[in-house]
């Protein structure tokens, strides 16, 4: 507890009047609440924040907030956010989406967003399923999950490891949280936003409709026993040996400076550019 001046914003100030279409019980409700709590705690004026998303259940978040939102096409949230943040470094830019949007159709952008290290906070709600299209296997689905008509025998493919790949690609901040602990999630989102560069937050966010068995996650997840490391090699070992259910802590914090393209003082005029063509 710290005795500071009264809060300027309440979590509710960051919510729009639009009622979510998510299924009751969906983990994404928690994420929305955690984001709004985090923004309130950071006391960011809503007009100074933007939330960018692609397509999917979790990509509906921007419209449920009262900040500036952009709801684009499937898989392309990260490039939109990259352009926005580079053009408008004064804004706080969050990216929200799901495992299919981020790691399948948007996989290449995920790699390069980690690598480029623009100062963004990427919150991925991972439910290991495509919810908007009636429950197909996603990149993070276990190989033997037989719940989809598209892959009735299971995918037979090992799941994508977002945090391992994120680390290897250069993400500057990596954390895993569970939607069953919204307050801790808010705390970690605050840290992620504050940390310079590209911050990756994986949220285990169960799908009540297509993966009802994920209700067990709340009992399976455990708070990670050790705090974050700034040593990528140690973080890699830790991420590659965990079972995906160590949550609630920041796992890695890097110190790479965020990407900002160099540009000279804007003293130059267009006339100077034109002069180079004159004979």
């Amino acid at each position: 507890m710290e005795a500071v001046a009264k809060k300027k914003y309440a979590a509710k100030d960051y919510k729009s009047d639009l009622k979510p279409i998510w299924c009751p019980g969906c983990g994404d409700y928690t994420v929305l609440n955690s984001i709004t709590r985090a923004l309130a705690e950071l006391a960011l004026p809503p007009e100074q924040v933007a939330v960018v998303s692609g397509i999917g259940c979790s990509s509906r978040i921007p419209a449920y907030t009262s900040v500036y939102g952009f709801h684009g096409v499937h898989g392309r949230a990260l490039p939109v956010a990259t352009g926005l943040k580079l053009a408008r470094p004064d804004l706080t830019v969050l990216v929200t989406g799901g495992d299919g949007d981020g790691f399948s159709i948007g996989g290449n952008h995920f790699l390069h967003a980690c690598r480029r290290n623009v100062d963004l906070t990427y919150i991925v709600m991972d439910n290991q399923v495509y919810g908007m299209t009636k429950g197909q296997a996603s990149p993070t689905t276990a190989p033997d999950w037989e719940g989809s008509k598209l892959t009735p025998e299971g995918t037979g493919i090992n799941p994508f490891q977002p945090l391992v790949v994120g680390l290897a690609s250069g993400a500057n901040f990596i954390a895993r949280v569970s939607s069953s602990d919204p307050i801790n999630m808010a705390k970690i989102i605050v840290e992620a936003i504050r940390h310079p560069g590209f911050s990756l937050v994986q949220v285990l966010s169960p799908c009540v409709t297509f993966r009802p068995e994920q209700a067990e996650w709340r009992d399976i997840v455990r708070t990670a026993v050790v705090d974050y490391t700034d040593d990528a090699a140690r973080a890699a070992r830790r991420l590659m040996t965990d079972d995906g259910f160590n949550v609630g802590k920041v796992l890695f914090k890097g110190s790479r400076p965020p990407f900002r393209p160099e540009f000279e003082n804007s003293n130059g005029s267009v006339a100077e550019l034109e002069a180079r063509f004159a004979l």
């Binding site: 729009s16 639009l18 004026p45 809503p46 007009e47 100074q48 933007a50 960018v52 921007p62 419209a63 907030t65 009262s66 900040v67 500036y68 939102g69 952009f70 709801h71 684009g72 096409v73 898989g75 392309r76 990260l78 490039p79 939109v80 956010a81 990259t82 352009g83 926005l84 943040k85 580079l86 053009a87 408008r88 004064d90 804004l91 290449n108 952008h109 790699l111 390069h112 393209p261 160099e262 540009f263 000279e264 003082n265 804007s266 130059g268 005029s269 267009v270 100077e272 550019l273 034109e274 063509f277 004159a278 004979l279």
Partner: protein
């Protein structure tokens, strides 16, 4: 024998310095006060492949290459026949080759051009650090009447860093070439022109495109390299930095289009440049920019398609994808530049249109004009600056409507940072607030609005360049677009010089179509010749779909990479009127 223009090719294999020689010649011609157009062609090798520089010089602006070349200067013959279709020669043409490299290949001799020898290797060998390409330049200069002093100045500029000895070696070889030219048969010479023949620029189409982007107000560019658009981006990278903008290299074209959507949503005018394969990847997100009403500009420097096609050569075959490629009903702007210098005008105009209507604008240029360098009259200053209608202060108690219904269809746009006007821009169909909606009424209202923006805009006279023969328009019109405009212009000049009457309509605003303006332009026209460089006649079919054309309408179309010669078009006009 003096002429209005002279055309020549310098060809040779890797290391022969063909491209450098072409550039030096162009620069020297500029110093001499001439106008010029230079295109290049090369083999598929990254380094060391055969190359050809095609140049046309004139005392007035050059719009097009000629039907044939007066001179082929072959520094060697290695694989030169790959260019034979691109280097039309006649019985009056002169091939100059180096005896050290043997005889001219038969593939070049179809029309029995004159032949002569120039011992470039031997002559250069007698000069310390002398190079055959400089001997060739000397001979060319003497043949076409280019003053040696102009070359001296250019060589001094170019070799300054290599020192005085290098300059002297080059100029000694050059003068040896001038002397040796005395033994060569004549080709047309251009009259020497005073060096102050009006303000001129030396610029490529891709550079002009980049400059148009900056003049229009763009300050954010995302880039993914692709031939032949890369030079637009390469020129923009340092240039944007000088005016306070930035260029970001993206991981692919999907990223570059979406980065500029993000930047533009943030209030900074934005663009990217690509070619057909990249445009294909961007199409989905262009639809997003239509739906979310995010202004942006995408330049497509067209190359031969489909698929990877012929990456280094030109074709006007992306018209269909540019106009019709987007799924759904997605009104957007498609404009086309019709010359090297028009790349500047059209791109700057495109930024203005995109910003004014909050819509994506596609600019079609092509490899032929993009990678060509021209000496052109200094382009006019243009008043077009991107002007976006932004929202003003929030109204107390009123929720901001991002997609408010307005008469013009353009809704004031709130930019992140503006208090009280937060909203979510959406690619999902939405109501006036931006809230997703699957209601028919919202869909129809928003479609009407998005379409209204484009149909109610005043495009002025820029929709097309319309030119008549000096003696009048007559009853025959050529309708063309893009790169085909150059040869069509020259065809019209020649037709007119022979007493013919015709009108040229070069359409710059491809979409939205302008039926009323076209009808006015076709008033009194009994015949229309449609000219385009596409195998399937894409432009002709588009004109047929949207415009009332006379019964006597013919289509002159051919696939790339060969450009039309003015004579091809003239032939059609003459045959028709006969």
């Amino acid at each position: 024998m003096t002429a209005k223009s002279v055309s020549l090719v310098i060809a040779g294999s890797g290391g022969a310095g063909v491209v450098t020689a072409g550039s030096l010649l162009l620069d020297a011609a500029a110093k001499a006060g001439w106008y010029a157009l230079m295109s290049r062609s090369s083999g598929p090798q990254i380094r060391g492949g055969e190359a050809a520089a095609m140049l046309r010089f004139a005392t007035g602006p050059v719009m097009s290459h000629d039907d044939s070349f007066h001179l082929l200067m072959a520094i060697d013959w290695d694989n030169i026949t790959r260019f034979s279709a691109e280097i039309p020669l006649t019985g009056n043409s002169l091939i100059v080759g180096d005896p050290a490299h043997g005889e001219a290949p038969a593939g070049l001799l179809k029309n029995s051009p004159r032949q002569a020898a120039l011992a470039m290797t031997d002559i250069a060998g007698k000069i310390e650090n002398g190079r055959p390409n400089m001997v060739a330049l000397g001979a060319i200069a003497a043949l076409i009447g280019l003053p040696a002093g102009a070359m001296q100045a250019v060589v001094e500029d170019n070799l300054k860093r290599k020192g005085q000895a290098a300059i002297e070696a080059s100029m000694t070889a050059f003068h040896a070439g001038v002397a040796a030219a005395a033994d060569l048969p004549a080709i047309p010479k251009l009259p020497a022109v005073a060096a102050d023949s009006g303000p001129r620029w030396s610029i490529t189409g891709n550079e002009a495109t980049g400059l148009g982007v900056i003049r229009g107000g763009v300050r954010f560019v995302a880039a993914y390299p692709i031939t032949p658009a890369t030079e637009v981006l390469e020129w923009l990278a340092p240039s944007l930095a000088k005016v306070g903008g930035m260029l970001v290299q993206a991981e692919d074209e999907l990223a570059s289009i979406n980065q500029i959507i993000g930047a533009s949503y943030g209030g900074v005018p934005a663009m990217t440049a690509t070619s057909g394969p990249g445009l294909s990847l961007m199409i989905e997100s262009l639809g997003l920019a239509v739906a979310a009403e995010v202004p942006l500009v995408v330049v497509d420097v067209m190359r031969v398609g489909p698929s990877t096609g012929i990456a280094t050569k030109s074709e006007q075959s992306d018209l269909n994808i540019a106009v019709y490629g987007l799924h759904g009903d997605a009104p957007h702007i498609v404009v086309a530049a019709n010359s090297v210098s028009d790349c500047l005008f059209t791109t700057q105009w495109a930024v203005h249109l995109a910003e004014a209507m909050q819509v994506p604008a596609l600019v079609l240029t092509d490899q032929a004009m993009g990678q060509a360098r021209a000496i052109v009259p200094k382009p006019a200053e243009l008043a077009f600056i991107g002007q976006r209608l932004t929202a003003t202060a929030a109204v107390e108690g009123e929720r901001y409507k991002r997609y408010a219904m307005t008469g013009s269809g353009v809704s004031p746009m709130a930019i992140p940072g503006m208090p009280g006007l937060t909203h979510t821009a959406d690619g999902l169909e939405h109501n006036e607030f931006g809230t997703p909606s699957s209601q028919a009424s919202d869909h129809h209202a928003q479609m009407d609005k998005r379409s209204r923006k484009l149909t109610q805009f005043n495009y002025g006279d820029h929709w097309a360049d319309i030119e008549d023969s000096e003696v009048g328009a007559g009853d025959t019109a050529i309708i063309t677009w893009g790169s085909s405009t150059g040869p069509a212009r020259e065809a019209l000049d020649r037709y007119s010089a022979a007493g013919g009457k015709a009108r040229l309509i070069s359409v710059r605003l491809i979409a939205p179509v302008q039926p009323e303006k076209m009808a006015a332009a076709l008033q009194g026209m009994r015949r229309v010749l449609v000219v385009e460089q596409s195998h399937s006649g894409q432009f002709y079919r588009m004109l047929r779909a949207f415009y009332d054309l006379p019964v006597e309408t013919r289509s002159l179309h051919q696939g790339g990479p060969l450009a039309f010669g003015p004579g091809q078009i003239l032939e059609q006009l003459t045959a028709w009127s006969a």
